[in-house]
Symmetry: C2
Amino acid sequence: MDKIETYSFTVEPFHVDFTGHLFMGVLGNHLLNAAGRHSHNRGWGIDQLNENHYTWVLSRLSIELTEMPAQYEHVEVETWVESVMKLFTERNFMIRNADDGRIYGYARSIWAMIDTATRHPADLLALKDGDILNYLLTNEEKPCPIDKHGRIRVKASKATRTIPTFYSDVDINGHINSIKYIEHILDLFPREQFEQNRIRRFEIAYKAESYMDDTLSFFQSDDDANQLEIRKNVGNTDHLQGETVVQAKVVWTK
Amino acid sequence: MDKIETYSFTVEPFHVDFTGHLFMGVLGNHLLNAAGRHSHNRGWGIDQLNENHYTWVLSRLSIELTEMPAQYEHVEVETWVESVMKLFTERNFMIRNADDGRIYGYARSIWAMIDTATRHPADLLALKDGDILNYLLTNEEKPCPIDKHGRIRVKASKATRTIPTFYSDVDINGHINSIKYIEHILDLFPREQFEQNRIRRFEIAYKAESYMDDTLSFFQSDDDANQLEIRKNVGNTDHLQGETVVQAKVVWTK
């Protein structure tokens, strides 16, 4: 089995923003689909693991792009596993144009495996007799030339926005969908931000689960509105309190 | 050229709700993709028409299902044109399981063509020397055994919800995305509604455009919360006033 999975998609009309480029959330969705396909085809898919009461949990996702795919473009995502530790594995992605091969960018992600009964992390190296080690491609073998996940620092005196969560926010596990957080985060920024800039890098860290009917408060850092936290069910949004669900950082370029 | 286009998709993990079934909005998106594919392959695609300053505008969409596709199922959408009048065309859809052929349901839609410069409707029968008539399949030739679009009646004394619109609501034309309206409408209903029922029929009528930064007020009819209107920039939401953007009707079943 090849260590790299290639996943293809076409940029659909309803998946582009007002500039004609793919929504970051939809790109994130495609990356997660590619990851799911890679895992499944190697016996590590959620559907296969569920039988054994394990599931993958996404911990970090960082996407860095020199260009965002545009409407009707044909895109290929390559994905592979860079490393495995006991409790975490690093999965990387390359995103390129399927017709001319130009590279839009790369992404990095970190995943844990948890036991769905106990919610405890599983030992990735012990599962399936260490089979996961058969799929490693080091950064020398298959480069992913973007920075690893950085530290996100948020000092915020007040929530920018507080929103309820509804039916369409929730996934099959009853959790707020990983992709919906990305949408809600980018919805904090005004039209002009997207007219005058594009996102060069987007980082997100998933810290805790939230559920339908939870309230999400978005705290943008006082000194940098592009570093932010989502906290759930914060009664008084004048202070940075409550449980952190997600942290994120957006890096813009002209 | 065959008069029927077949469009295939797999129900992705992030496209299902907490019951494990495809979101209605995502199904709508797939239907619109199928319509776009059918049109394009017959020389009537938006990309081809744009060169001549014409574009398709969706006026009505009614979806009726005996079953909603579930996660990982393989789905085929057949689409064809049932009729053409001067200013409108009726396009139908059949949605079936690609593996065992069972039919999930059908959909009907009505489209107009407008001149993007003048915003006036175009004469569909005059364009391309009446070429569109080559693709008709009457209801006898290709049945679509669901009711045509009904009348949606809303008498509401107060808006149920008023929401701002943001970056992720907007499509490449700067309009609130047709699919996002479906999401926002279904978000009016509580979790229990989806736990205890499924949607048997969903009807939506697109009446006017709304734009990023518009405010959308949702008026559910006093006598039937499943018939509703979205109105934009309604200052005082105690009355049914302002311009109607969308009307919709949801029919539930156990």
